[in-house]
């Protein structure tokens, strides 16, 4: 704990006058604020049931489980994840999730959250891709989703603020924008086919609009309990589902295409508070 406090000091000084991420807020408080400030958003108001369930969001169960996993000594190297740097310093989780993806000196590339988590589980703890701990990416039972939910929760209510200072960060964000608007696949869809307009429905589902801050912040606020799946899902899982429906090719987990898309996603939600974890239909 003493070590943590000492580490926080130089980071705080270095950040200096940079934009404040804001205070931690309960995810339901963030949602309620969005609802009140955007009474006409069909997307935000589409499910009374989910709004009602939000204080008892089942995703919150994973927060405690994830916390235990984070501080437990695990893997062949028998160490905790406290040495993992998500961009704010080793073990510093406050506000880390909303400031990803970012460039990491130690790998020389831009990494999104899941890529960084897996990196730490392999490099620090010694897990390999064959271990279920990192191999299993989806579902409430997976270590990845428990850890994701715990770590993301530490940034709830803070504004999305992925850094763009490093040229690689800007390059990945710009490529992500191109990917978002790139028509392709068997049915000529791009992401904007569904997310380019306000208040459109695909079947019964009201779609979030990429150009409307509060809608988009909620849209990219994964991890979220997805009621229809009865599981907590990640940003990567959402991308996989969209790309599948779009009839593009089958996308793999946490590859650079995901990173670029997430860089653009999170940039489009910039300045809006994150709902972590969220609850979705």
């Amino acid at each position: 704990m003493f070590k943590k406090a000492l580490l926080a000091l130089p980071v705080a000084m270095a950040v200096g006058a940079a934009a404040q991420a804001g205070e931690w807020q309960d995810p339901n408080d963030v949602l309620q604020q969005f609802l009140q400030e955007n009474p006409d958003s069909a997307y935000l108001h589409q499910s009374e049931m989910n709004i009602m369930m939000m204080p008892d969001n089942p995703a919150l169960w994973l927060v405690d489980e994830g916390e235990e996993l984070f501080y437990a000594k695990r893997g062949p190297n028998n160490v905790s994840l406290e040495g993992c740097d998500f961009g704010k310093g080793p073990g510093e989780l406050d506000g880390a999730y909303v400031e990803l993806p970012r460039y990491f000196e130690d790998t020389g590339k831009v990494m999104d959250f899941e890529m960084r988590l897996v990196h730490c589980m392999k490099e620090l703890q010694g897990f390999t891709s064959d271990d279920a701990a990192v191999g299993q990416r989806h579902g409430n039972g997976s270590d990845i989703m428990k850890l994701t939910t715990f770590i993301a929760h530490q940034s709830s209510g803070m504004a999305w603020n992925p850094p763009l200072d490093h040229p690689q960060e800007q390059a990945m964000r710009d490529a992500g924008e191109k990917l978002f608007y790139r028509r392709g696949g068997a049915m000529d869809f791009n992401c904007a086919s569904c997310h380019g307009d306000v208040g459109k429905q695909i079947r019964a589902s009201v779609l979030p609009h990429v150009g409307t801050g509060p809608e988009w912040s909620k849209a990219v606020s994964w991890p979220a309990h997805r009621a229809g799946h009865d599981n907590v899902r990640s940003q990567n899982h959402r991308i996989r589902g969209c790309v599948w429906q779009m009839r593009h090719a089958g996308i793999k987990a946490d590859t650079p295409v995901n990173t670029a898309l997430i860089s653009y996603w999170n940039d489009q939600a910039r300045g809006e508070p994150a709902i972590l974890p969220d609850l979705k239909r």
């Binding site: 070590k3 000492l6 580490l7 130089p10 980071v11 000084m13 270095a14 040495g83 993992c84 740097d85 961009g87 704010k88 310093g89 080793p90 510093e92 460039y103 000196e105 130690d106 790998t107 020389g108 590339k109 990196h119 490099e123 620090l124 850094p163 200072d165 490093h166 040229p167 690689q168 800007q170 390059a171 490529a175 924008e177 191109k178 608007y181 790139r182 028509r183 392709g184 068997a186 049915m187 000529d188 869809f189 791009n190 459109k200 429905q201 079947r203 019964a204 779609l207 996989r240 599948w244 429906q245 009839r247 593009h248 090719a249 089958g250 793999k252 590859t255 650079p256 295409v257 670029a260």
Partner: protein, 229 residues
């Protein structure tokens, strides 16, 4: 260890250009040799799709592999802008779409009941963690995803215009039949850079001629529930 970490954190916050020592985490997987900052955003997007092992190596239902499906044709390239196309692009896209359309000798309406099923079906052409098997089930048209045909049916989308009473308002003249066939086959002939897929174009045929005749019947047949509201 503590000192190193503090240095790394501080320097990362300053987005320092070069940091040769003091990494918090040892790592064998350095970034690739490619300088992504030397590429244009378009070049980098293509690089990420085709050169970073981001997609599963699978055969596509329409033939070809994942690269074929992810490679853009001219129309897709022309329509990859944010927002609507400018006048010049729109004209080029219409010309492209018209040049590749082959009108059938005659068009007849099929069975509207089969058309309703096809309009509802979202099966087909999906690839990845679950891949649609066209040998088990025929692909559908996905029409309900975006269009209301019959407000009595729940869960119809609004990305495209409502088609309620489409045939009742237009009749079934030869000209109407030809127009609807053109739009389903390649809608860019009339709506450049529309979000609607090309169901029968020079790129590929997603719906058979017979399937298209059924969907047309669902839209135009006076007996179809679409036209009885």
């Amino acid at each position: 260890m503590f000192k190193k970490n503090a240095v790394a954190a501080g320097m990362a916050a300053f987005a320092s250009v070069a940091l040769t020592a003091g990494c918090a985490v040892a790592d064998g997987s350095k970034g690739s040799d490619v300088d992504i900052t030397a590429m244009s955003a378009d070049e980098l997007a293509e690089h990420l799709i085709f050169e970073t092992d981001s997609f599963r190596d699978q055969e596509m239902q329409e033939g070809g592999d994942w690269r074929d499906r992810m490679t853009q044709d001219d129309l897709q390239k022309a329509c990859s802008m944010k927002g609507d196309p400018d006048g010049e692009t729109a004209g080029q896209v219409v010309a492209m779409a018209r040049a590749s359309y082959e009108a059938p000798e005659s068009i007849e309406l099929g069975d509207w009941r089969k058309g309703a099923e096809l309009a509802d079906s979202g099966y087909g052409y999906r690839q990845g963690h679950r891949t649609d098997d066209h040998g088990q089930r025929e692909p559908g048209g996905n029409c309900y995803n975006c269009h209301v045909f019959d407000p009595r049916v729940s869960d119809q989308g609004t990305i495209g215009p409502s088609l309620q009473n489409y045939g009742a308002n237009r009749g079934t003249s030869e000209a109407v039949l030809r127009y609807v066939h053109e739009v389903i086959s390649n809608p860019h002939q009339y709506f450049p850079c529309t979000q609607m897929p090309r169901f029968n174009s020079d790129r590929h045929q997603l719906l058979s001629d017979e399937q298209i005749s059924h969907i047309m019947a669902y839209l135009l047949d006076p007996e179809s529930p679409v036209n009885n509201q």
